[in-house]
Symmetry: C2
Subunit: 771 residues, 2 copies
């Protein structure tokens, strides 16, 4: 079975603001280091909005974040991912006419992304007002092989004329970040973050070096235009902008080919980013374009081999899933200086900050398909551990570390702390993801070097945050995942993940205690035996809200006291609620933005009976708006777990198409990487019933009845398992590695080559037993 759906394309582009911005996002190029939004090379006329962005993952400046009331410890400065320099501009002059989609006649127009080749493309056939016809084929790539490199291959064919063509290729350091004063989810203030240091020409390439206003970072972008036929060339250059004008002869039916190389280097990764930009540009120019394309394809070939999901019976869905997985590898940072933002590198929503999304929605995918990427992401968290310790101090804690709710370089960037810094569960989320990585890989070295330190320091914070009272351990005044109820007491999700975290802190302490280097760590962080005991006692006494009448877990202590808000009665135009209701109004109602208790039931399923999980599901589903893109996938997974196939399928489909159909009406600000990770989970954890547990990996596959079959792969320890789910049976094949014990529908099997389990009978048995 081979996945053929590797090209997503849009024909007959619509040239309105909405579609232009949407396509800038959908067809952006990124490689985890740089990201370039797909604006038209030639730009749009005045009056059209564009977010003409090019970003470096983890490259930031500080900006002021004025607090209306300046209370102690509130963040007053945030980090912002910067729009570096425009290297995508190419303007075609045909005598006194300039190519534009907005005048003359667009005869044909198409854009696509090829997910096997790792390129985006654009095709235009255009007739000028004076009747000149031109065909353009443009290919863009951000190289996975050379992360600093962005290329545009720009091919022009004069169809009904010959004559002089002037190509103007810009390199503009005056890029500004995008602003929307009305949406709290993007920046509200235009600001010149980057100050030009130099703009130079060297060996026919332009170099623009700029420094940030406050973060003391510098960045250099370099552009070289290679026009593959005879031409005149001149540069117009000022202190922050270099225009390369190339004049050449167009011949009817012939093709003019320009290759525009752009490289980006920043001072966070490179000691001398100007120097490095020169090296990187030379490196790119020394490789043939074909070879660069080939390496790109090889990289993706390997990627798909690890992670591809194949559905037999729904090509469109298959394509959507592939699109989502493609965006994940485009978005995720490839070094410890960066991570993966909710919008990846495709836009400025949430200003490029990193959240818990990484650990709870995205890492699960990488952990079982490309664990080395998860390792990077853990390295990143370790790199900011010291700042998390500082953050804990700011928040009044006498010990431990508290990870910032949103950050680029480690300092908290939450403007509104009740829906930000108060989300202490991020500590548990990070610990949970390290534990999951350990369960999947048994990579004890990472625990020894970094993971254990993170887990202990963050575990300590629970002890400092919660309180023993009448024999129970209570955690007050935190916010759970659902931001429609902030600063609550005993949030079920938080308390449950804290319990899991504390229990695992004890396990890891015992696991590592024989290691000779462990003492060093214990000494470094001054961890005492009594603390480990306290972890145990607190975990044991952890108070977990439960309502015996409804037989559900209330989201927090007072949740059930609140008014229910019939979300059916809310006008469509009032969603998402956060943009239309005062926070207190939301807090005072039983209404959820996203799964909270349901998320807890998903990630720590053994803590609760299926009956309570099912009751809770039914209870919360009615009051959840799914205003967050983190919602559908989890509801889908839990529907699958609880045997609600129709529901599971519907949620899955909604999640699969979230960006391609712009279901949240904000894809213009960037893709939703967390949903993309969640969408993968909805297949593997949802339909596949996959779980990583201490005693091994578990599966309980179901098959949506619209599909004939599906398959996915899971890396587990040294092995890779292929899972094929068909109507009658499911197959587990050991692709490589040593034999593994696996659980299928709760029964253990030793997987040496292939295990076949009758799916139909087992599924029926499973749900007839449980319901």
């Amino acid at each position: 079975m081979q996945n053929k759906e590797s090209i997503y394309s849009v024909n007959d582009l619509q040239l309105d603001n909405y579609n232009l911005l949407l396509n800038e996002t959908l067809f952006h190029n990124a490689n985890g280091y740089i990201g370039i939004r797909s604006a038209f090379e030639e730009g749009y006329p005045d009056g059209y909005e564009s977010i003409r962005g090019q970003y470096i993952n983890g490259f930031y400046d500080y900006s002021n974040m004025q607090q209306a009331e300046k209370l102690y410890g509130l963040a007053q400065e945030k980090q912002t991912m910067l729009n570096i320099a425009d290297t995508q501009s190419i303007i075609i002059h045909l005598d006194d006419e300039i190519f534009s989609m907005f005048h003359g006649t667009v005869i044909a127009s198409k854009r696509w992304v090829n997910m096997d080749k790792g390129v985006t493309g654009r095709y235009v056939r255009w007739r000028s007002p004076k009747g000149k016809e031109l065909e353009l084929t443009i290919t863009r790539m951000t190289s996975f092989h050379q992360l600093t490199l962005f290329t545009i291959t720009y091919e022009m064919k004069p169809l009904n004329f010959s004559g002089e063509i002037m190509i103007e290729s810009n390199h503009d350091g005056n890029a500004l970040n995008y602003v929307d004063v009305n949406d709290p989810r993007v920046a509200a203030e235009a600001f010149h973050y980057l100050t030009p240091i130099s703009c130079e020409l060297k060996k026919g390439a332009s170099y623009i070096t700029s420094s940030t206003s406050k973060s003391q970072c510098t960045v250099c972008s370099s552009v070289k235009n290679v026009l593959l036929q005879e031409h005149d060339r001149q540069f117009i250059i000022d202190n922050n902008n270099a225009i390369c004008q190339m004049t050449t002869e167009g011949n009817q039916g012939g093709t003019i080919k320009l290759i525009k190389y752009a490289v980006f280097c920043d001072s966070i990764r490179y000691e001398d980013c100007r120097l490095q930009a020169g090296i990187e540009l030379e490196k790119a120019l020394a490789t043939s374009l074909e070879s660069l394309y080939k390496k790109q394809e090889d990289y993706l070939n390997e990627y798909w081999k690890n992670c591809d999901v194949i559905i037999d019976g729904d090509d469109e869905l298959n394509l959507a899933i592939r699109y989502n997985l493609y965006q994940l590898i485009q978005s995720v940072g490839k070094d410890e200086y960066s991570n993966i933002a909710p919008k990846g590198l495709s836009g400025e929503g949430y200003e490029g900050h990193f959240f818990w999304d990484t650990e709870m929605y995205i890492e699960p995918f990488f952990t079982i398909t490309n664990p080395s990427i998860t390792r990077n992401l853990i390295h990143y968290r370790y790199s900011i551990l010291e700042m998390a310790r500082e953050n804990a101090k700011i928040m009044g804690h006498s010990q431990g570390a508290l990870y910032p709710w949103r950050t680029i370089m480690g300092k908290e960037c939450s403007g509104y702390f009740p829906a930000g810094s108060a989300q202490y569960h991020i500590n548990g989320d990070i610990a949970y993801s390290i534990i999951a990585y350990y369960l999947a890989t048994k990579d004890i070295a990472l625990l020894q070097e970094k993971g254990a330190e993170i887990i202990f320091e963050t575990a300590r914070l629970w002890i400092d945050t919660g309180n023993f009272y009448h024999g129970c351990f209570y955690i007050n005044d935190v916010t759970g995942p659902d931001e429609y109820t902030c600063i609550v007491n005993n949030n079920y999700y938080t308390n449950l993940i804290a319990q899991y975290h504390l229990n695992w802190a004890v396990k890891i302490y015992n696991l590592l205690s024989n290691d000779e280097n462990f003492n060093e760590l214990i000494h470094k962080i001054d961890l005492k035996e009594e603390e480990i005991q306290t972890f145990q006692v607190a975990a044991k006494g952890m108070y977990l809200p439960y309502d015996p009448e409804l037989k559900i877990n209330p989201q927090d202590d007072s949740f059930l006291q609140k008014s229910k808000w019939d979300i059916e009665t809310i006008p469509e135009s009032n969603f998402p609620l956060l943009l239309h209701y005062h926070p207190l109004h939301l807090y005072r109602h039983q209404v959820c933005k996203q799964p909270d208790t349901i998320m807890a039931h998903f990630i720590i399923e053994d803590a609760q009976s299926n009956e309570v999980m099912r009751n809770s599901y039914e209870y919360y589903e009615k009051i959840t708006t799914h205003d967050s893109s983190l919602s559908d996938c989890i509801f889908g997974i839990m529907a699958a777990k609880l045997g609600m196939e129709e529901k599971a399928f519907q949620y899955f489909c909604d999640s699969a198409h979230l960006d391609l159909l712009d279901r949240h009406k904000n894809t213009k600000h960037g893709i939703h990487t967390s949903n993309m990770g969640g969408n993968y989970m909805a297949i593997v954890y949802g339909f596949g019933g996959f779980r990583l547990k201490e005693n091994g990996v578990c599966f309980a596959p179901m098959l949506p009845h619209k599909w004939r079959s599906y398959q996915f792969k899971v890396c587990y320890e040294d092995s890779r398992i292929i899972i094929i789910v068909e109507e009658e049976n499911c197959y587990f094949k050991l692709e490589h590695g040593s034999a593994k014990k696996i659980y299928v529908y709760d029964k253990p099997f030793l997987l040496e080559d292939t295990v076949v389990v009758n799916r139909k009978i087992n599924m029926k048995r499973k749900f007839s037993r449980e319901i």
Copy 2:
């Protein structure tokens, strides 16, 4: 018995920043309309801080209040009381020398406030660097008789020389508001709120008219200098500043007298404030200065007759109390356009906003001494009722009115809503104060015209805010008076006052239902019979947190779960805690800024047994920092009620001297009017055991053992009662009005002329019974 302590003075002024700013506040002049801080007329040298303010009560401009995260409904603009124009500058030139306290030799220096005469004074004897000795006697007054008027009588006596003296008297429209970027309790941004419209001379007076930047208000100040001896005069004038230079001949031993008249008129009160300023100035000039002084004294004579408290046995304390009561009449607005701010008109702390302080700390004083002032304050609340309805809508409510937590003209100005708009108890507080006014005056007309409408509309909000669950009525996600725990569930204070409010809404409905105009109101606000029933059911089912083990009322649902924070262990320099700890850290601990449950026990004492009140007192006292100036007085009152005389006395003394001793280290930003009202309550409600109840007025006087006796007066309905408390007996005398039923130590008496009750025996009995 007559109170002799009417002058508070400071000798040998200390000329450091701290004392200069403190004295600017302590010796400010105000009359409820205008307030002028007492800077030195001649100013301070560069490098000295001054808050050289002159304010009009209720005169404001809008300023931006940027929210770090712009959530729906958050206030993004606030009102700010403006610093109008400097009219207090007078500079003395002796040839080439200029009088200043900061060079030459200050031989004597003194400032005072005379609370019988209603003036402040300043005396200086000074020797210039070149040896000229000068004696200055300066008297300032803000007239109670003519509210727009401020006068300075400036007398100079050359002691050892004769010669030319040049007096420069400024009128400067360039006044700016004060800024402190580090204190959330004052403004953080300097801004030119006022733009000059005109600066003119007319009949020897200067007129500066300015308009606000956003609120579309204008203000005119006018100054006329009357120098009572031959002199040359010239004006230097620009578009926002008028300097009057008067040159005259000084004779050794003779006195030169300048009277500087300043009037302030604003467009909120006057259609044409420039015109009105002319009229007001003419009016002042047409009255002799002696006559103005006489009217001032008459006004205060009447004031003291109504409200004076006389303590026999502690003159210093007597003076402090008088000082406090004097500030209340200086600060309180005299019309419906204004109210009383926590700093009165003495400084810019809290930007001149009005809070619940008015109703719960200050009105109780006026209600029983000058009920017409309370009536004004209720008129003010009525004038912003429509905006309170708007505010309710912004906060998501479908009915009712929610008063803004802080405001000048009616719109919410809270920057941080968890400690602002979330304090829904303000609705209950306003209702409570109207009920108290009604109980004291039986002024049913005010209820009919305004009070009932406020009470019904605010009562409705409780129904829209709370929720019936399992037969109880719960109010979630509000903040009680204690801002160290925000957004809580079932705050005892809030729920109790809501219950009281709802019960009274029903009573008032029944009380007024026979009135012929009542239907009009019912129709106007569309109040339904079923709503009244719901009020009743909600009040009856109101959930009031109670802990059967500790036998206390917990502050809210989860308060007791939280860590106790031993405030003894907190370094002195870390108070007030709000300036040194992150809000979440405060919220997560059992620590209180001020009385919350204790306040509830005070205001609605019949809802709880003395035992529970005493347990609660002991519980909360240990964890209360008294970081708020609203704290000491209430703890004092409840200590008195519960028979803890020593404690009551100590709290009372702390409260009495709060500003004079600058106990909170922020009197430079203004006096603490709420504490001043609370301090009065600590005598009358505390020591006197006074309560206003439905069946009449009650007393249970105790006598601090350091005092021989004390007396106070209470207006009740058409009568005034004098209460004299001595060691053995207490006396109740009907000063005027009809006979009244009063309760003394819970026993009823008919007060026709005098009632004498044995205090000693009754007190002993009272507490032996209860303890």
